[in-house]
Amino acid sequence: MNALPGLAWRSLANRRYSAGLSVLTIAISVMLLLGVERLRHEARAGFLRSVSGVDLIVGARAHPVQLLLYSVFHLGEATQNVSWASYRAIAAAPGVAWTIPLALGDSHRGYRVVGTSDDYFEHLRVAGGQPLRFAAGTRFAELHDAVLGAEVAANLGYELGDPLVLAHGAAAVNLHAHDEQPFRVAGILARTGTPVDRAVHVSLGAIEAIHRNWRFGTRIGPAPTRAELARVDLTPRAITAFHVGLKDRAASFAVQGRINAQREEPLSAIMPAVALQQLWGLLANVERALLATAACTVLAGLLGMLTAVLATLNERRREMAILRSVGASARTIFALLLAEAALLTAAGVACGVVLCQLLLALAAPWLGSRYGLILPVGLPTPGEWRLVALVLGAGIAVGVLPALLAYRRSLAEGMSVRT
């Protein structure tokens, strides 16, 4: 019956407040569901983006996930270092195209300090193969030069030439400052959407310099003077970890096997994508719990709609009787109520999609700075469309109950409104 959607719509419009509340409930639950899905999806994409181009990550023997987390995502700490000799040996091994050394452990106002070399700016790839770009300034020229990630510069308000002091350890509030050797902002990187944005980069030599006469996390002798530092060899004795790029990616397994099996020093070489898979494996239950919670709120929303439709069913017996009297079949009554549930669900889902986008747009700056998650605002992804379709299907399925009740009653009672 072509008149059906119109009738369902006008009947709903007549009950706009209760219908509006049903739509709102569904919208909020759909917003939550899509938000969780978007977060899950973008977390994966963002993490993968952070390790694009790196074939192996090498560090002291550790669980692959732990190594991945501290070396790339600045989460957690290394328990052991890699000796400089081992690093140089692997860097010079056949098949190795480039390496990026990483010396971690210091921080600046809550942001991690990454001691590294020019190889970092040369070889690190972000966002699907893009090299790092400088928004301002250059790489390290002097020993006490620092290159800031985009977010560090933006949030702390640094500009080229500004001084900064590094702190020992990763805590945001730190008693042990390397304040006798202040640094200078030499470069600021363009935004990447990866942990690079939240790092303060200095040279390996600088890391070595600020730790001269330090043992066990505290100063044990006089601070070295600038003149002294110019004289001494600042080649580090150890680094925390390093990235490896291979000439031939297919050799990854062979090189990984060789590093893991060498006897000189217990090291772990991991393939980032594999370690990420392990990480997702560990987080799968959490993800599932989040999705299940969101799915339950959707269910609650749909049950709310069911309650609203069922509650009106009795007071609408007259409406059904009138429709029957002018020729509507019991099937039409069924379809009318089903169309109503479908309309409510569809409106709720549409509002939910819009609300989700609004929420993402509002939360994007915070999520970006706090967790490095870049959540693009835009049309739903295929995964989200699938969820949308599922919710619509569930809404229509829920609508079958009142539709069936009205159908049976209009068959049993005809046009009589028996009270």
Binding site: M1, R10, S11, L323, S325, V326, G327, S410, M415
Partner: protein, 238 residues
């Protein structure tokens, strides 16, 4: 040779009906209604008037007997076909609350045309558009004051609502108009107005009128009347 009389519009034969789990409510051996006839069917409350109207309109089906409407046995039809038959041939006016509150007056009148192509066609025979047909009927029923059509139907007086319902029953000229106590909520003046207009419009459309009421004072206005209590063997037995 005697002229063969035309077939009745409505013929009830050996009809028996009971609501589930209840004693038999209706047992009517025979009842007929000729095309264009205006019949008063008297029945006190509880006598099964409304149930009988459901059976005539095909929204209920008796387990026994025949209800032939416009030449078809309703019980022999599939449910959807029966609903279509009702939309094509019957207009119904209830006691009160006849209108869908969320539709404008014209749309309420045109409801049967949404469900019946036949009624749509017949309504368009005299008027260029369906809305014109509805407006003409409403005007003939005295609902042509300026601004009235735009009013939400819930704001109309009961008498006005009943006249809108009559227009709905008459649109597209069905052969049978069934009225179930349509004046019981009206005062005497409104009742007289309503009946006069209903008779006139049924006659103009060539529709038969089956008017069911417990109000015996209306009986003299009809050319024929019947007593449901006398017709109904089930009642007589009880």
């Amino acid at each position: 040779m005697p002229a063969e009389s035309p077939p009745p519009l409505l013929r009830i034969t050996d009809l028996r009906f009971a609501w589930p789990g209840q004693p038999e409510l209706l047992a009517i051996p025979r009842f007929e209604l000729q095309p264009g006839e205006q019949v008063f069917l008297y029945g006190p409350s509880g006598s099964g008037k409304s149930t009988l109207l459901n059976l005539v309109a095909g929204t209920l089906v008796a387990r026994h007997g025949r209800v032939e409407l416009a030449g078809r046995d309703l019980a022999a039809m599939a449910a959807t076909a029966r609903d279509g038959w009702r939309a094509d041939h019957v207009g119904i006016v209830f006691q009160q609350f006849n209108l869908l509150p969320f539709l404008p007056m014209i749309d309420n009148v045109l409801l049967p045309c949404r469900f019946s192509a036949r009624r749509r066609e017949r309504a368009l025979r005299r008027d260029p558009a369906l809305a014109d047909a509805a407006r003409r009927l409403l005007a003939q029923l005295g609902l042509d004051q300026p601004g009235l059509l735009q009013r939400p139907v819930g704001e109309l007086s009961v008498g006005q609502q009943q006249r809108v319902a009559a227009a709905r029953a008459l649109i597209g000229a069905p052969e049978l108009v069934v009225a179930d106590e349509p004046t019981s909520a009206l005062d005497a003046d409104a009742r007289d107005d309503f009946l006069r207009l209903l008779f006139a419009e049924c006659a103009a459309a060539g529709a038969a009128l089956l008017y069911v009421s417990h109000d015996l004072s209306l009986r003299p206005r009809f050319s024929r009347s019947a007593d449901l209590v006398a017709l109904n063997r089930a009642m007589a037995a009880a």
